[in-house]
Subunit: 285 residues, 2 copies
């Protein structure tokens, strides 16, 4: 099962997930002026992937950054996914889709086959189990997986996710739903093909989700620029596995403050991954 | 404000929103075999728009159907939006995006400018007010609007949206949030640039949202194939305005059961719009 491949990747190469949220302001000037923005982004992504693939659990590509550039941006998204997969690495399409079942089928087709094929996608659970159902044929084959939003990393996550039901906040209820949806898709590693997204910026809530739902593999965003650190993500791990921690801007933009960042951006990305991995491992205990 | 244009359109041409969720199985055989699937869909959409533009409040284009066809599908999405707007009609990009603020900015750029520019987009509120914030500059100009998911039309909407908080179900709380977010963006028609999505398949809950939040313009999906009828959507209206009712398959597929449907698909789409408008107006009272 693909969740076993992800758990193996964490065990071998550490829990860092490199977020390819590549925007114009992260690009070295030379790349920027040499070609169109989508081409420059693709070049930047390929070099960053080459420099980090042996120290990274997986990649997460935030489709919004590509969608913002229109059709050409989505060609770049397609090529970025293809490049990650051609390097033998796993890729999460961070699409946060979620719709009624007939529409969900189209999203499943869009992101688990064809131009935009990823290994995992992120989904938004607001519309309930209909959001998940269209992905079942893929989950049954075991070669694709999901990460469902539970407690996100942004400041206003509390607006909805922390609402208090009779006995627990909404996000814990969502955690239960995700746990139930994924029960039949558990890999040899003990984790389900349906994992959860829990932000690094709310440490205690991360710990609560981890301990309540031990079979959920967690995708933890919010590390670095958003404020989460090694200490904050530590509760996501059990025996050094069971989660990947995503960082985007702090890795892709590591070169920005360096005098020789222009030429060596990919090396600085690699250094940032290694420093992040070290920091996470130190707190993991 | 664009919400005034939408309210005017409802007053002049009725509340039907034609959902261009165009998939292969809705296409006449002749179109299907003449060219690539994205080209055939675009041709079908243009003819359907031509045949309905004078009897339709607006169009809603479900991006999933285009995303499923990859980059070429998204070119077709772009051309469909452009065609609707070139005919002087309003178009809702049904994208149901929602993400942290920095990512939301990219989605706002994607769907309110450039290739995929729409007049309104649908958003998912699970991540709270950060989802809305990036759209503020557009709302302040008054030329763009939003529809935020409140109570969706699908069977499992209850999984999350009906969860009971201290005094009310979650979707009523979301209704309150949407109402607050939109307070400063009210048009001359009395409705806000930030509207809500409430499905036709839950009549009483639609009535509850309508009466609690009179300044929300409502986008009502779930009419037709999903089961909602004229009686079900009637509570959405106040004085014959304040809502548009979307139907997709029952309009686009109206030709499928007709012997001469192949050649006259666009006329049958128009007939379906007229019948639907009539039925809604009858119940509107």
């Amino acid at each position: 099962m693909i969740i076993d491949r992800l758990a193996d990747a964490v065990a071998e190469r550490g829990p860092v997930c490199v977020g390819l949220d590549t925007s114009a302001k992260l690009l070295p000037q030379a790349l920027h002026s040499a070609s169109s923005l989508p081409s420059a982004i693709l070049e930047f992504n390929r070099k960053t992937i080459d420099a980090t693939v042996d120290v990274t659990a997986c990649y997460k590509v935030q489709i919004a950054h590509y969608e913002a550039l229109g059709v050409d941006g989505l060609s770049c998204y397609r090529e970025t996914l293809r490049y990650v997969r051609s390097r033998g690495a796993l890729v999460i399409g961070d699409v946060k889709r979620g719709d009624i079942a007939s529409t969900g089928e189209m999203y499943a087709q869009a992101h688990f086959s064809g131009d935009f094929e990823a290994d995992f996608v992120t989904l938004n659970p607001y519309m309930g189990s209909d959001v998940i159902a269209p992905y079942a044929p893929h989950l049954q084959k075991g070669n694709k997986g999901l990460f469902v939003l539970i407690k996100t990393s942004n400041p206003s996550a509390c607006d909805v996710q922390d609402l208090f039901l009779a006995e627990q906040p909404l996000f814990m209820h969502i955690g239960e739903l995700v746990h139930c949806w994924g029960r039949e898709y558990r890999g040899a590693c003990g984790y389900s093909l349906i994992g959860g997204v829990v932000g690094a910026t709310y440490r205690e809530q991360l710990a609560a989700v981890r301990s309540a739902f031990p079979s959920l593999f967690l995708l933890v965003p919010g590390y670095g620029v958003q404020g989460g650190g090694g200490k904050d993500v530590a509760p996501a791990f059990v025996g050094g596995n069971g989660a990947v921690v995503n960082a985007s801007r702090s890795i892709l933009g590591a070169h920005l403050s360096k005098p020789d960042g222009e030429e060596r951006f990919a090396e600085y990305a690699r250094e940032a991954v290694l420093a992040m991995r070290e920091e996470i491992r130190r707190w993991m205990g």
